[in-house]
């Protein structure tokens, strides 16, 4: 592997549209870890909404689109456990009736990573640019945790953020109720789940709630905003990179 690996940033559709600062944070962290980062096109979406809706055709169409764009890179990195989970664990499950594509998909899947675990496990990152004096708590998003084993890595890097105090919440591994389209198909159950999650987060006394998946973050921040609660919500990459110019998710930019 070259000293300075070429990394394709798979920015994910939600980060692209809702929270570009997470993408910038990811780029800065990857560069700090000695990577050359590019944004190959076309890349729209990993196909998760289609895949989890049972629509394999669309999932495969989307994969056919981004696989050639990503293939030339040493690594593909996504700032999301669930999108990286699709790329790394499920890409190779596609194309059952198309061996050529299956081979390409499988080969690519092995080089796909979730951002924080990539930084720690592959690049050996131990120090981070971010500093933040705050009491924070961290939610383990499900796909990252269970499909990719993202658990110790974010904690390790958060411990390197000077000033930051991490307080573990009870049941940090319990789903927040997002689940992609689940949250709009079953809003009642989803709401109960996110309320339980937020109760656990609140009990830590943390002022900032972090996670590594924007879907979960939008869900938790959206619920907090609806209830008029003050806890701030951010993607873990923003804190690690020290990219905190944008207001927390669902909050307003301070006047002036």
């Amino acid at each position: 592997m070259p000293d300075q690996p070429r990394v394709a940033l798979f920015v994910t559709c939600l980060v692209d549209l809702f929270r570009p600062s997470v993408g910038l944070a990811a780029v800065e962290l990857l560069e700090a870890a000695g990577c050359r980062v590019e944004l190959p096109e076309p890349q729209i979406c990993c196909g998760q909404p289609a895949f989890n809706s049972g629509d394999r055709q669309t999932t495969e169409n989307l994969a056919r689109q981004f696989i050639p764009a990503l293939e030339p890179y040493d690594y593909v990195v996504a700032p999301s456990g669930s999108c990286a989970g699709i790329l790394r664990t499920h890409l190779g499950e596609l194309f059952d009736s198309d061996p050529d594509w299956k081979m390409r998909a499988t080969a690519l899947a092995a080089r796909c990573h979730e951002l924080v675990s990539f930084l720690v496990d592959v690049r050996g990152m131990r120090t981070v640019p971010g500093r933040l004096t705050a009491r924070v708590t961290y939610h383990d998003s499900c796909s990252g945790l269970r499909e990719l084993g993202v658990k110790a890595q974010p904690r390790r890097l958060l411990a390197a953020v000077s000033g930051l105090e991490l307080v573990e919440m009870a049941r940090s591994e319990t789903c927040c109720g997002f689940g992609g389209t689940f949250c709009v198909k079953y809003p009642e159950i989803s709401t109960r789940m996110v309320d339980d999650k937020l109760a656990d987060a609140r009990a830590t006394g943390a002022e900032l709630l972090l996670a590594g998946d924007l879907g979960c973050l939008l869900n938790m921040a959206g619920r907090l905003a609806r209830k008029g609660e003050r806890m701030a919500v951010r993607h873990v990459a923003e804190v690690l990179a020290g990219r905190l110019e944008d207001p927390p998710i669902a909050a307003v930019r301070e006047a002036g």
Partner: protein, 470 residues
């Protein structure tokens, strides 16, 4: 039982309003969920045991006909009578015939999910028999005129207060508050019925090919009384319960209780090998076993084969946040929770149940705790694919997905449209940072605000960054 699964959302929404249910389900979380974690942590070889269990089950499924044949031979040699039932109707008819031939009026019954699967109680009762459930949870559910809401604890949805009211209503006497008193009362009522029964019906946790034995597991000892006191013992089990050896049964037993409740072993584990022999003083005069297929032999060769590894421990539901919010009755059929979302479409047809596999966030907790490592999310996704192929989800969902796919498959158009949308929403949401209402986002905004996009896409920022650097 007609599946009510299409109404999952409505049933779950109603259940969420029930504070009794919430209390009861929270107890499940703090009790059995923690229990499993403790038991797993206390046994160094727990993970290795899981691997061994998977290997045993997979081996059996690969050689199912062989082991069933051996089991049949050995079981028959012990004096048992084996009946093969292709489907639920056949199994019910055989069960009724056996009861009639025994001249039965009252039958006692210990817990059996297969009996629930084939709707045995209702059928026997419609044919004039009195069926008495002897498992405490099943007995409670039967008194209440309900169905089980959990594989292992049929009445986990009920609080002690509700059970006390139910007992006072049916047994008479003052309202009892204490659990021990309630159990004692149920025991008093049930003891009488054991002696009146002509046939005792049980399920089976395992069937051992090597010895022709039926293995039952309970915490109340009621399976032993159910099979041992009446003249006739009728066991109903499904094909995949067979295991090669006694040792294999023990491997699975060591996992079963730990995964289910966190106990090291259930209070009563019994190996029944044949009816009473001449030299013996107790046990039933006759032992019948109905072996039910009901689509399982077809499953062996299909994509849902791994589901047949299930040992009915209930861990998947004890750990499922959807189950713990909605309760078992929301699922609308016999099997509930994650394993039910895979099995119910199998038995009741995907048309009438396609909602169940969609009622999951795919958080993966079920697979994480399943002792036989069944990839439940993957199997639910397979059902979603089947439902998608048959166009079962409502048009709104399908057209929404199709519209999104149309855009996502056209990158240039997608970039153009999303840039505009993000700019517009960014502008609109600038004041508050979020939306409390937005057209087409009703499912989201009923209970959550939608965080507003910042106004530019990452792509645009990336391009600007590249320009400023060159």
């Amino acid at each position: 039982m007609e599946p009510q699964s299409l109404a999952f959302r409505e049933r779950a929404a109603a259940a969420l309003q029930d504070p009794h249910l919430a209390t009861a389900l929270r107890r499940l979380e703090s009790g059995w969920q923690r229990g499993r974690a403790r038991a797993a942590a206390a046994l160094p070889e727990f993970e290795a045991l899981r691997d061994a269990a998977v290997a045993i089950k997979d081996h059996v499924l690969e050689n199912l006909d062989l082991y069933l044949e051996i089991f049949e031979r050995r079981f028959t040699a012990t004096g048992g009578v084996l009946h093969w039932a292709r489907d639920a109707a056949e199994a019910r008819a055989i069960a009724l015939r056996i009861c009639r031939e025994a001249g039965a009026r009252t039958v006692t019954k210990s817990k059996s999910m297969v009996a629930e699967e084939i709707g045995l109680n209702a059928f026997l009762e419609a044919n004039g028999l009195t069926v008495v459930e002897t498992d405490l949870g099943e007995y409670i559910v039967q008194l209440a005129g309900e169905v089980p809401s959990h594989l292992v604890g049929p009445a986990v949805h009920m609080t002690r207060e509700r059970i006390a009211e139910l007992f006072a209503r049916h047994h008479g006497g003052p309202l009892k508050r204490d659990s021990a008193e309630l159990v004692a009362e149920a025991r008093r009522v049930l003891r009488r019925r054991y002696l009146e029964a002509d046939v005792g019906i049980t399920g089976a946790n395992f069937l051992v090919a090597e010895t022709g034995s039926i293995v039952t597991v309970t915490n109340e000892g009621n399976a032993e009384l159910t099979q041992g006191l009446p003249r006739v013992h009728l066991c109903i089990a499904s094909l995949e319960k067979v295991v090669p050896t006694v040792e294999d049964a023990f491997t699975l037993l060591r996992l079963l209780a730990r995964s289910a409740t966190g106990q090291e072993f259930s209070a009563y584990t019994t190996f029944l090998t044949g009816p009473r022999r001449r030299s013996e003083r107790d046990g039933p005069e006759a032992m019948h076993l109905i072996l039910l297929d009901n689509g399982r032999s077809a499953m062996v060769g299909g994509p849902f084969r791994e589901m047949l590894r299930c040992i009915r421990c209930g861990a998947c539901m004890n750990h499922c946040p959807v189950y713990l919010a909605a309760g078992g009755h929301a699922y609308g059929w016999v099997y509930v929770g994650p394993m039910g979302s895979v099995l119910t479409p199998q038995f009741a047809g995907i048309e009438r149940t396609w909602t169940l596999p969609t009622a999951s966030t795919f958080c993966g907790r079920c697979q994480e705790v399943c002792p036989v490592r069944i990839p439940l999310p993957k199997l639910m996704r397979l059902w979603r694919e089947e439902a998608h192929r048959r166009r079962l989800p409502p048009p709104v969902a399908r057209y929404g997905l199709a519209a999104w796919a149309f855009l996502a498959e056209r990158p240039a158009l997608y970039r153009f449209v999303t840039r505009l949308a993000v700019a517009g929403l960014g502008l609109l949401g600038r004041r508050h940072g979020r939306f409390s209402r937005l057209p087409l986002a009703g499912g989201w905004t009923v209970s959550r605000d939608l965080p507003a996009p910042s106004g530019t896409t990452f792509r645009a920022l990336w391009k600007a960054r590249a320009r400023s650097r060159s």
